[in-house]
């Protein structure tokens, strides 16, 4: 507690202050942050190059696909190829692509004839709503069930929870979506359909105000439920195994020996230590949140970014694909960065590095 130097020599205390003040650990913290930020920027630059190469290597004739069945003359096809910049050399297209990305326009969609950024902005809301809701509920449900199962591994609760979770995890998302759609929207036998079949809102209702939000919530139930049922199992499994690993630890024995209730030991002692693998999972999951869920969005015609990407693939609308690829990659890179920072806060071992 006491320091003989500071206690006896006030001058020395002044000199030593910078190294002993709360600012002291900030230097490595800043270095850590700078290193991670630098790595993120490099990753992003590499992503740009990979994205461009990937989509420009795809064998494609978007003009023919877009105009198929329409009365278009060969001269018009040439004109259209030139309008889309397909006649330019690859290096020019790459420079244009980098320039567009750095200016935040993300290119110009061939199919929708609008900037990719405006399309992405229009879809990010629905994606975050669907993915965010299902993410939050999956994490809470998965972690809660997982830690309770793991704590009493082998019990009836554990057996039931684990089998349901594993079954749902193995079910194809598309199939599960269709079954829920049949039961809850169309109705089977005595059950009448009670939820909307698709879309995000009912066009015949006002598009603002409380009634609209209730309507959006109704439309959200089935796609979100499908996502939750498919995803929560991952958290159950990881949390369960982490807790099982902790159960034999001596510190839990100590806690119990102190007379603490079993429930308290689980929540306050075992849980924080068992949480780290789940945190990794959460950040990995968060990174993919923006990219949406193509299958679920397709089943329920949910107008999100996954669905936009699928639409772009059909042509293929290369600028739109490149644009969404960059947005998805950037979200993964940012989430990885945040995960690194969070680890430093959560895990003393990382701080010590």
């Amino acid at each position: 507690m006491s320091n003989p130097v500071t206690a006896t020599d006030p001058a020395a205390e002044v000199v030593q202050l910078p190294t002993r003040s709360p600012r002291a650990p900030r230097l490595p913290w800043a270095r850590y942050l700078a290193a991670k930020l630098g790595a993120a920027v490099v990753s992003f630059a590499v992503t740009l190059v990979i994205g461009f190469v990937l989509f420009n290597m795809m064998p494609s004739d978007p003009v023919r696909t877009m105009t198929r069945g329409r009365p278009v003359s060969p001269a018009q096809l040439i004109q259209l190829r030139s309008q889309l910049g397909l006649d330019k050399p690859v290096w020019q297209r790459f420079l244009g692509f980098v320039n567009d990305t750095l200016h935040g326009r993300l290119g110009y969609s061939w199919e929708y004839q609008r900037s990719v950024a405006s399309l992405v902005m229009g879809r990010i809301g629905p994606t975050l709503l669907l993915m965010g809701t299902s993410f939050v509920i999956s994490v809470l449900l998965g972690l809660w069930l997982g830690q309770r199962s793991g704590w009493r591994a082998g019990s009836r609760f554990d057996r039931i929870t684990s089998s349901i979770a594993l079954t749902l995890w193995s079910v194809p998302t598309f199939w599960l979506g269709m079954i829920l759609l049949l039961v809850c929207s169309v109705g089977i036998g005595p059950i009448h359909g009670f939820l909307p079949t698709g879309g995000m809102s009912d066009p015949s209702l006002p598009q603002s105000g409380m009634r609209h939000y209730v309507d959006v919530a109704q439309h959200l139930v089935l796609p979100a439920l499908t996502m939750i049922l498919v995803v929560y199992a991952q958290y159950v499994t990881i949390m369960r195994s982490s807790i099982i690993e902790e159960t034999g630890s001596p510190y839990l024995l100590t806690a119990r020996a102190k007379g603490l209730r079993d429930d308290h030991v689980r929540r306050r002692h075992a849980l924080p230590n068992a949480l780290l693998p789940s945190v990794t999972m959460i950040f990995m999951h968060l990174g993919t949140l923006i990219s949406g869920a193509v299958t679920v969005e397709a089943v329920y015609s949910w107008p999100g970014l996954g669905d936009l990407t699928y639409e772009a693939l059909k042509i293929p609308d290369l600028p739109l694909l490149q644009g969404t690829f960059i947005v998805f990659s950037a979200s993964v890179i940012i989430m990885n960065l945040l995960a690194d920072l969070a680890y430093r806060l959560l895990d003393p071992r990382v701080r010590a590095q």
């Binding site: 696909t65 060969p74 001269a75 018009q76 096809l77 698709g198």
Partner: protein, 612 residues
């Protein structure tokens, strides 16, 4: 302490709700901004499924997708309309005449029509629209080829439109029709947007136009809302409003129809159709199809100057090999097994939807499934069977193996390919099935890098364009670019007839010429027509009048266009369901049960703790 313990699950629930609500905020970002006038005005609403292609842009000068074309057909007028018999008839133009040299067309335009903003709709609007497409590259994006033969378009007075052409053009009455060709737009609205036409999105609602409907709102890849034009000149829609809603897969659209959330789907697949036939709340109907499914054979890809192109198997340049393949494919089985018999075996190149162009081979000329004859032809061509049963090319000494390109996302192609491969294997031809994306397939096609491809087309009421993609002029240039060919077909006799049909003004004579062209295509064995499937329609039993025309002997209605179907739809007396309210109450009940169960679990768990 105990209290805190008990509160914890509630805190978790509250946190969940808070997170969900905070995440719900982005919904506000998308809902009001991107359009959609509230569509809750009183009156009956018709809900139709949007064409699965969706809407690319609401700018009719630059749009290609069928979802958009259906909307333009409803909200913009055209010079003529394709009537229920598939022929051009009066719309904006009440009559038309042609000069004796066949170069000047005069259209008489209706008096007294008004755009939806009250401004007069005259011949000047039509002249301005057509002139813009003739002179502006961007405006020509979607329909430029339709006016490429025009020298001038003028409106000497509000009720007269004069079109002069470079060469006689027999299909001029097809140049401006709903859905299939050029929509007329209001000059007073669009002239301000000519400079930035490429980026103009046409999304100020309601969109000024004239048609059976008025566009009141649109949300990208979700839906369009429309109001009826009760004073529409060809008859007022019976419904007051319409919602044109996009479903990303047909199963969802069918589910919406069965649950009463949708009234009409034009085009469900065979499996769904068979199931829907048994559904009590749903009516079904077939209409004569406007498309074909076929197998293309590469006859030796060449450029316009005759330079060979690509990697096509030279065996297919031999007409005997192509004929053998044609005789070796059992179209009747494909029709029965792949589309459950909903259609007819393919013969003529033009589809059954437009009866004036339907052609059939004369008796005795039909190419029917005949493997024995096919084998004979291959023997005659010198392709002897090797030890493994696969034939050997007499020129190269290599086994006769052909690539079959199919659309990787198309279940029909996937169903057809193994049949074709099996039948050809029996003939001694090895087939390598190569699934590709539509785009990759098109790319290979353009470069001549293919042997056989699965193909499908639809055609509108005027056959010029689809006949044109078999013309020599659509072959690529020596650099391999500038082509728009469908299968590298090029035949001098066909070429002459193609030019001839463009200048024949007697419909019967033109039909005769087109028949001869179809005969040439049939005998060339380059585009093997497998079948013409019917369009399968499913609609709510509460609807009447959507299927226009009278069914043929097989029970199939004439081809249905969204223009007439949406216009003629009538609600049956006492129709309409209130499933929305029921859904809301059931939804609330569902929520109460879930929350109740949650509370019960929490209370029980707390009790367990106390017992411990």
């Amino acid at each position: 302490m105990v209290l805190r313990e008990r509160h914890r699950p509630r805190t978790a629930l509250a946190a969940t709700a808070a997170c969900a609500l905070s995440l719900a905020a982005p919904a506000a970002l998308v809902s009001p901004a991107a359009a959609a006038t509230p569509h809750n005005a009183p009156g009956k609403t018709l809900r139709v499924a949007m064409d699965s292609s969706g809407v690319d842009t609401l700018n009719p000068f630059t749009s290609y997708f069928n979802g958009s074309l259906d909307i333009f057909g409803s909200i913009y007028p055209t010079l003529t309309v394709i009537n229920k018999d598939g022929r051009p008839s009066p719309y904006l133009a009440t009559s038309w005449s042609i000069s004796s040299d066949h170069l000047t067309w005069t259209f008489k335009i209706r008096k007294g029509l008004k755009w939806s903003d009250g401004r007069p709709l005259t011949a000047a609007d039509a002249a301005w629209t057509l002139n813009l497409i003739m002179t502006n590259e961007t405006a020509a994006t979607a329909n430029g080829s339709l006016v490429s033969n025009f020298t001038s378009v003028t409106a000497p007075d509000p009720t007269t439109l004069v079109i002069r052409t470079k060469h006689p053009q027999s299909n001029l009455t097809y140049v401006s029709t709903p859905i299939y060709s050029i929509p007329i737009v209001p000059e007073h609205i669009w002239k301000a947007h000519v400079a930035g036409l490429k980026d103009y999105r046409n999304d100020s609602f309601p969109v000024v136009g004239y048609g059976p409907w008025k566009l009141t709102g649109y949300k990208t890849d979700q839906y369009a809302t429309l109001d009826a034009n009760k004073s529409f000149i060809l008859g007022a829609p019976a419904y007051d409003h319409m919602v044109d809603q996009l479903y990303k897969n047909s199963d969802s659209a069918v589910a919406a129809l069965r649950s009463g959330q949708l009234d009409y789907i034009n085009g469900v697949n065979a499996t769904e159709y068979t199931a829907l036939k048994r559904d009590s709340g749903v009516s079904t109907a077939e209409s004569v199809g406007n498309g074909w499914t076929g197998l293309e054979l590469n006859p030796g890809a060449r450029t316009r100057s005759g330079k060979p192109l690509g990697t096509g198997n030279p065996a297919l340049t031999d007409p005997r090999v192509r004929r053998a393949i044609s005789l070796g494919v059992d179209k009747q089985t494909l029709l029965k097994k792949v589309i459950d018999g909903y259609g007819t075996v393919g013969e003529g190149y033009l589809t059954p939807a437009w009866s004036q162009w339907v052609w059939k081979p004369s008796p005795g000329q039909e190419q029917r499934y005949d493997p024995a004859k096919a084998n004979q032809l291959l023997d005659k061509a010198g392709y002897k069977r090797g030890a493994n049963g696969i034939r050997i090319s007499p020129k190269t000494g290599k086994a006769l193996a052909l690539r079959l390109g199919i659309h990787s996302d198309d279940s029909t192609d996937a169903a057809i390919a193994p049949y074709v491969a099996g039948w050809l294997k029996a003939l001694g031809i090895k087939v390598v099935i190569d699934p590709m994306s539509m785009s990759a397939l098109n790319s290979d096609l353009g470069k001549g890098d293919w042997d056989m491809l699965m193909d499908a087309w639809t055609n509108g009421p005027d056959p010029t364009y689809i006949l044109g993609i078999q013309s020599c002029t659509t072959l690529p240039d020596d650099q391999g670019s500038g082509g728009n060919t469908d299968s590298f077909f090029c035949d001098p006799a066909y070429e002459k007839l193609f030019a001839k049909q463009q200048t024949e003004f007697d419909p019967a004579q033109r039909t005769k010429t087109v028949d001869q062209m179809q005969q040439i295509l049939y005998n060339a064995d380059v585009d093997l027509m497998l079948y013409n499937s019917t369009t399968k329609i499913a609609l709510s039993s509460d609807l009447a009048g959507m299927n226009t025309g009278k069914p043929d002997a097989q029970g199939a209605y004439p081809a249905q266009s969204s223009f007439w179907s949406w216009l003629d739809a009538t609600p049956k007396a006492g129709g309409g369901s209130s499933s929305g309210d029921v859904g809301l109450w059931l939804g609330i009940a569902f929520a109460v049960i879930v929350v109740g169960a949650g509370v019960a679990v929490v209370r029980r768990r707390a009790g367990v703790d106390d017992r411990e």
